[in-house]
């Protein structure tokens, strides 16, 4: 399978990465090189094979349903590029 330029733009938007018009043909070539490489997988008959979900079979660990951490809002927002008090600040989302 290969991607066209419209698909490259659509993927970039889904991935929330801005792309310029100059970048699109370049990206298209690189993505198609990778997709051509992974196309080899179609040689294999996988009809009765289960997809892997866990590399080492193990029972999921569970913990007590109790609060183990918290009360640290200063630390939570310490690295925020923009904040107001204990809130992360973003451009207006709802008109």
């Amino acid at each position: 399978m290969s991607v066209d330029q419209a698909t490259v733009r659509r993927i970039a938007h889904l991935a929330r990465i801005a792309v310029t018009d100059e970048e699109v043909p370049h990206l298209q070539g690189e993505l198609n090189a990778i997709l051509a490489f992974v196309d080899q997988l179609n040689e294999v008959d996988v009809t009765h094979v289960e997809p892997m979900t866990s590399v080492t079979p193990m029972a999921m660990k569970k913990r007590q349903d109790v609060v183990t951490d918290g009360g640290i809002p200063d630390l939570i927002v310490a690295n925020a590029p923009e904040r107001e008090g204990h809130f992360f600040a973003v451009p207006k989302v709802v008109e």
Binding site: M1, V3, T7, V8, I11, A12, H13, L14, A15, R16, I17, A18, V19, L27, E30, L31, A33, I34, L35, F37, V38, D39, Q40, L41, N42, V44, V46, V49, E50, P51, M52, T53, V55, T56, M58, M60, K61, R63, I72, L75, A78, N79, A80, P81, E82, F88, V90, P91, K92, V93
Partner: protein, 503 residues
Amino acid sequence: MTDLTRMTIAEARDGLTKKSFSAADLTQAYLAAMEKGRKLNAYVLETPEKALAMAAASDARIAKGEAGPLEGIPLGVKDLFCTEGVRTTACSNILGNFIPPYESTVTSHLWRDGAVMLGKLNNDEFAMGSSNETSCFPAPINPWRRQGSNAGAGPGGIDATPLVPGGSSGGSSAAVAAMLCAGATATDTGGSIRQPAALTGTVGIKPTYGRVSRWGIVAFASSLDQAGPIARDVTDAAMLLRSFAGADAKDTTCVDRPVPDYAAAVGKSIKGMTIGIPREYRIDGMPAEIQKLWDEGAQILKEAGATLVEISLPHTKYALPAYYIVAPAEASSNLARYDGVRYGLREPGKDIVDLYEKTRARGFGKEVRRRIMIGTYVLSAGYYDAYYVRAQKLRTLIKQDFEQAYAAGVDAILTPATPSAAFGIGEKGSADPVEMYLQDIFTVTVNMAGLPGIALPAGLDPQGLPLGLQLIGRAFDEETLFSVASVIEKAKGRFPVSDRWWG
């Protein structure tokens, strides 16, 4: 006084116990070596004040007779491990000046056991790469240089072309090989511990998936990522892994199994063991020196009393293409968190989506953007079954290949670690990304199957560069790997850099 930085961890521990020198002396020797070695770009952040304070605390514990197993040992930390109060970037501009308010489980184990932090080490951006050239910092340089009369050779027959130290843990491998730390933390998603170790004459082990906690390590592909050490020899790697490993309530994929004394497995007889030689690793166009290295490794194990058997791992050739679906898919999900809101870089936008798109376009490097886009594509509606589900089915088949070999009585598998020795900065992957991806052809199967793998140096190529062998073990049987690796190490010796040209 002898150069303290030339000691292995075992030797330094011995000297500290005998009080031949103090932890402060040892740390100071490394800080001086780091200063002289800055042109190797191994460190992206030096933390000398923290190192000296930790060394002083080690000396106090040694005086009280309370020394831990790594007491006073100066280590470098890959910049993928969160370190409390110390900038952690994953070598990406998108993390900017991120200062974690918490410590990763692995590094907290090291400090619990008395180790000293020297600083943060370079890596490929978000650990995506095989040469460490995708870092947002200047690329680290391999302390090894080519020798011989080739065109680029200058005075003394030395070719000054700077070589890559491998990746993604290239800062770790360069620093260990150049003796700018006694050992280093690293991570391995497709070969990022073993390939850089092989390219620098050092020892690196990727433990079984689940052996080491992933908590506090910047995530790349969560079903493949595993942390492990890069060290100067097999014993040091064993000592470090013992500290890395162990149960962690904060990582549900980290197993509750006792941690063996791995160093006790070093030097154990391998008589009667069965070592598998997989025929599918004999790839077309394999350089003669790699084949020779592999044959010699097999001969050493045979002479030590192991039985060698040829085995077949028929789905080997599909591991790398399946990896380039699974790893980008998981990365695209993991890296969704870098949105310019909670931490790191932020580019203003006219609305929130514009802010996300501009921030991520500017903050992520080229390789990371490419992988996020591939991952987004293979997970998108209509393609999920054709790509992602098919790749996970291939992963089942790859794992079954190994299970069949082990069920037939194989204790460990011997392969080359990489298809070539270190290459020059800028030499690979500029036209076609797949060219660089092929570096991981021998290592990536191990991640896909969740198994442990160790790389160790076993010879030099015609240009005098180190070449590595890889041993692959059964799940949670790292001890056998240490025993078998120590047999090869004993026969071949260690591979320290003799020409310290950087200062």
